[in-house]
């Protein structure tokens, strides 16, 4: 019987861009249990939304997370719009899909780069981030800011994409797809990459369902769940299938995200082909009242907003359940039995976004 030691992992760790602490109960090199200690990024954002006006809250919820900021604003706007029975113009629905998928693209590229960095493949990390800058340029051109784009508004969007920009975007996406082919070869076939990812941190289908995992973690375990298929925004008019892998290990989670990059490019192309003319925002008058629980699929999984409004310019309650928060129980399960050297890969494989988790 080996002696048990508790090893704190984090909060300041070279592999993690954000502070999270896992207290690992170790038996020699094997992890027997993990206890999360979070709270380093907690700001108290839900309370802040109660003091701000409803339209100002868009800028607050965008800053829950800088990586999927557009989807947070989208979910919030969709919730308020359905409480107020506002129909959003067709063009803005498609524009929301386009920006949403651009965010998914840049988020997945970011993650692929960080994963490559975590297993020590420096040049692959640089390659992913170089490709990601193409998406960032599109963001800066269309929305005026690189990460927090602030294009969502109640009733529609704040900016339009004209035909010149459309050409630029489609050109960039063609280039991006070529580059993606190159890195896909390395990620899927390289010997060292396979050695580090295959059969590491496996989570079974049943466990993923019971532990409430969402997004790529869930889909990598063979569960087909992608909230986009319910057809919010303009997804009902676009053709795509949820991407599912069966093995449930780190490799499967990586493949899901890699394939979703291709899917996003495809969805953006379809959306541009179908982009209707017309206004980009409908007028908003009055204040919402009532309760709603609304969901959107983010790069990391499904996000839930519970909104309670009371007919004034301030909300009674805004509750956010972010995807990483739902994936932490699955993480705690999957690190059991791993060696210490595999912990960084396992943590990264759920694509942790701590600022989302703690708000």
């Amino acid at each position: 019987m080996a002696k048990k030691t508790i090893l704190p992992f984090g909060p300041q760790h070279p592999v993690l861009p954000e502070p999270i602490q896992l207290q690992l109960v170790m038996e020699d090199e094997i992890v027997v249990e993990a206890i999360p200690a979070i709270g380093y990024v907690h700001r108290g954002l839900e309370k802040l939304t109660e003091t701000k006006a409803i339209a100002e809250n868009i800028f607050v919820v965008e800053r829950i997370c800088g990586i999927c900021s557009f989807m947070h604003a989208l979910c919030y706007c969709q919730g308020i719009e359905s409480l107020m029975n506002i129909t959003v113009p067709d063009r803005s629905r498609f524009l929301r899909v386009i920006w949403g998928e651009l965010h998914r693209l840049h988020s997945h590229h970011l993650w692929l780069g960080l994963l490559a960095d975590a297993f020590g493949f420096e040049s692959l990390f640089m390659q992913c981030w170089r490709n990601r800058e193409m998406v960032m340029d599109i963001m800066e051109m269309t929305a005026g800011s690189r990460v927090i784009i602030s294009t969502n508004a109640l009733g529609g969007v704040r900016r339009d994409i004209d035909s010149d920009q459309q050409k630029f975007i489609l050109n960039s996406l063609n280039k991006l797809q070529e580059e993606l082919d190159n890195i896909k070869r390395v990620f899927s076939d390289d010997y060292t990459v396979n050695k580090r990812l295959v059969d590491v941190a496996v989570i079974s289908k049943e466990d993923a369902h019971e532990l409430g995992a969402v997004g790529p973690v869930m889909r990598a375990s063979g569960l087909s769940f992608d909230y986009r298929t319910t057809g919010y925004a303009a997804y009902n008019e676009l053709d795509f299938e949820p991407i599912v892998e069966q093995s449930g290990d780190c490799y499967a989670r990586m493949m899901v995200r890699l394939r979703e990059c291709y899917q996003s490019i495809d969805i953006i192309r379809q959306a541009f082909a179908k982009l209707p003319e017309g206004p980009i925002a409908s007028p908003v008058k009055g204040f919402p009242s009532g309760e709603i629980a609304t969901r959107v699929e983010q790069p990391r999984g499904e996000v839930l907003y519970y909104i309670k409004a009371n007919g004034t310019n301030h909300l009674d309650r805004l509750r956010v359940r972010t995807p990483t928060f739902a994936n932490i129980p699955a993480l705690l399960k999957m690190v059991k039995g791993l060696t210490l050297a595999d912990i960084p890969i396992a943590i990264l494989s759920i694509d942790p976004c701590i600022s989302c988790t703690e708000r």
């Binding site: 701000k52 006006a53 100002e56 800028f59 607050v60 800053r63 170089r130 340029d137 800066e140 051109m141 005026g144 800011s145 927090i148 602030s150 704040r158 900016r159």
Partner: protein, 119 residues
């Protein structure tokens, strides 16, 4: 092996993918949100921007006709420019340069000056 040689040759003759900042500053795309400025002659000091600013970065003194923005609080959402009744607030693509103290930007009727006020 051959693929690698191809890569090497391609990279030798292609342009660097790095933006050579600060030797060359790149042209920003139009409509990029970099910094917020107010034209003190057009502004009517109504205070609408102060009311709607989500991060309370703008302070308008109606009596003395002074408009102040703290760029270190500003989140560059662009709401102030959108709702300004006189369209006197403009968003420039040039970003605010880093400084060693939190200098506020003050715009005053007639006299335009950069006052140094420390936090």
């Amino acid at each position: 092996m051959f693929a690698m040689v191809k890569n090497v040759i391609k990279n030798l003759f292609s342009r660097p993918s790095t933006r050579l900042f600060p030797y060359q500053t790149r042209e920003f795309f139009p409509n990029v949100r970099g910094s917020i400025d107010n034209d003190p002659e057009v502004c009517i000091y109504c205070g609408a921007c102060q009311m709607r600013c989500p991060s309370e970065a703008i302070v308008v003194n109606r009596a003395e006709k002074v408009w102040t923005i703290n760029p270190y609080k500003c989140i560059l959402c662009g709401v102030c420019a959108q709702i300004c009744p006189k369209k006197s607030i403009a968003i420039h693509s040039e970003y605010v340069h880093p400084q060693s103290s939190k200098v506020k930007k003050i715009r005053q009727k007639k006299v335009v000056e950069e006052a140094q006020s420390h936090a």
